[in-house]
Symmetry: C2
Subunit: 279 residues, 2 copies
C-alpha cells in the first residue's frame, strides 16, 4: 500500500484513520491530506447509500473550510449524504480530532462525486512551457540551511528554476510557482490524489517574498478529468492580496498535457512587515 | 427597502423569508439570491452567538452546492456556527423549501465572515478596458424575440458590445462576457450584494454558443474589499469545458477600479449537440 493510501480512512465504518508524522508542514498536517481523508470517508459513505448510483466514484468538486490545524494522530470523519443525484452526488464532511480532552473540529467540507470516465475535454488552457524534470530543482538542490518539511520527502517535486528563486532569497515577485510532481513511492495519480496535490506545493506567497506560514482558510478544488500515469505539471498563481488575505490558484496538467484539476484557495499571510506593501 | 433587501431573511429567528417572483430565470430563483438569503440568515446567527466578535460583519467567502432549483415562495434557512474565530467566523447553511408535502433541500453551503473595513489591496488585477455604460447594450437594445428573464428587470446591466454577440446569434466563442452592473432601484453595492452579483450575469456559456440553461452545481465566491458606490464592472470567463461540465470565473471591480470580488463556479451544460465539440 502506498504512503498516501495508508492515511486514508478505511474499514466498515470508514470514518476513523490516522495522520502519520510524514505529512506535516511545521506542526500541521497538510490540508490536501486532510481533504483526501475526508473524501475517502465520503466515498465509502456514498457507496453504502441505497439511493446512490454506484457510478459516482470520482471526486469532482470539494470546498473545505479549515478551522484549526490538524495534528499527526487519530482523526475522525463524520459524513452525511446531502443528495444522491443523477449527474453528481453531494455530501458533507467534518474532520475532528481529540485535543485537550475534547473533540475539536479541524475541517468542514462539502463535496460532489460524479463519473469522469471516458470524458473528453472540449476546451482547456494549454500547459505552460517548462524545462523537463531533470533540468528542474528538487529539494536535494536546495541550500544547506533549507529544512524540508516532512511532506516533501513523500513527493518527488521538481521546481522550475524560474519560480524557485525564493529558496535562495530571490523571489521573482510575479506570484507564480511551477513544478513537476509525482509521489516519491511511485503511487500513480487518480482524482483523489489530484485533490490533495492541488495543495502539495509550497505556498505561492513565497514567490512574493512572504516566507512565513500561509494557512489555508478555504479551498475549492475541481477535478476535470482522470489523470494519465506519470508526471503532473502543477502551476500556482496569485493575483489578489490584501488585508492579510490572499487568493492562490492551482492548475494541474497530466503527462498527456490535459488540464486535469484546478483550485482556488483563500489563505492567510502571517508575516507582518515582510514582502510588498501592508498586510 | 430595496428589492434586493426585501427577499432576505429577517426577524428574530432570522431563518424564514420569501423569494419573490421577480428574481427568477426560467422557473428557478437565481442562485445569487439564494446565497444572499442564506448569508443574511448566517449573519443573524453569528450576531447572536456569544463566542462571536461583533466585528465579523462582512461575508468574505462562501461555497454553495445547489442540489435542486429554488422556486418563488417561502424558504427556510437552517444555520450552524462552525467556529467563531479571531480573523474569520465560519458557519454552515441549508436552504429548504416545502415541495410536494415535504421539505426539500435547495442549497447546502459553508461561509466565513470577517471584517473588510479599511482594507488596502496590495495586489490586484487591473480592470479590463471597456466602453462606458452609455455605449454598452442594455436589455432594451436586445432583439424583439429576446424574452428577458424576470431578474434582468431588477438590474441595470450594460453588456460590452464585444461580448454581447450571442444575443444576435453571433457568440464570440472566446468564452468571455463583460458588463456594467447596478441595481435598477439604486440599491448601492455592499459585500452581501457582491456575493449575489457574482452570479447575476447571463451564463458565459452563451458566448461559446451554448444557449440553454447552465445550472450552477457549485459556486465559491470571495469578497476582497467593501465596494465603493456606483457601477460595478463584471467580467466572466471560462477556460475549461468537458463532459457537460464547465467552469465559469467571475470578477467584479468597483467604480474606483478596485477588484472587490471574484468567484468560480462549476456549472452543467445541458444542450447536447449545440456549441463546440461533444458535451
Amino acid at each position: 500500500m502506498s504512503e498516501f493510501d495508508e492515511i486514508l480512512a478505511t474499514g466498515a465504518n470508514g470514518a476513523t484513520g490516522r495522520f502519520g508524522d510524514g505529512w506535516v508542514i511545521g506542526n500541521a498536517v497538510n490540508g490536501g491530506i486532510v481533504m483526501a481523508a475526508a473524501l475517502s470517508a465520503l466515498a465509502d459513505c456514498l457507496a453504502r447509500d441505497p439511493a446512490e448510483t454506484t457510478a459516482h466514484v470520482d471526486p469532482v468538486v470539494i470546498s473545505a473550510y479549515f478551522t484549526t490545524a490538524s495534528l499527526p494522530g487519530e482523526y475522525h470523519v463524520d459524513t452525511e449524504v446531502v443528495r444522491a443525484g443523477r449527474m453528481l452526488s453531494t455530501g458533507a464532511m467534518s474532520v475532528t480530532q481529540q485535543a485537550d480532552g475534547q473533540r475539536v473540529e479541524r475541517m468542514r467540507a462539502i463535496a460532489s462525486f460524479g463519473n469522469l470516465g471516458d470524458l473528453q475535454l472540449d476546451r482547456q488552457p494549454e500547459p505552460p512551457t517548462m524545462p523537463p524534470p531533470e533540468q528542474c530543482l528538487s529539494m536535494h538542490d536546495s541550500p544547506a540551511q533549507f529544512e524540508a518539511p516532512a511532506i516533501l520527502h513523500r513527493l518527488d517535486l521538481r521546481l522550475d528554476p524560474a519560480s524557485a528563486g525564493w529558496a535562495v532569497g530571490k523571489p521573482s515577485m510575479a506570484g507564480r510557482m511551477r513544478g513537476w510532481l509525482r509521489m516519491a513511492d511511485g503511487r500513480e495519480p487518480d482524482p483523489l490524489l489530484l485533490m490533495a496535490a492541488l495543495d502539495f506545493l509550497p505556498p505561492v506567497a513565497f514567490d512574493l517574498g512572504f516566507m512565513g506560514w500561509a494557512p489555508t482558510l478555504e479551498f475549492t478544488g475541481h477535478v476535470r478529468k482522470r489523470p494519465a500515469p506519470g508526471w503532473l505539471l502543477v502551476e500556482l498563481a496569485s493575483d489578489t492580496l490584501g488585508g492579510g488575505l490572499m487568493e492562490e490558484d492551482a492548475r494541474i496538467w497530466d503527462s498527456t498535457g490535459a488540464l486535469v484539476a484546478q483550485s482556488r484557495q483563500l489563505c492567510s499571510i502571517r508575516v507582518p512587515g515582510a514582502g510588498p506593501g501592508k498586510v
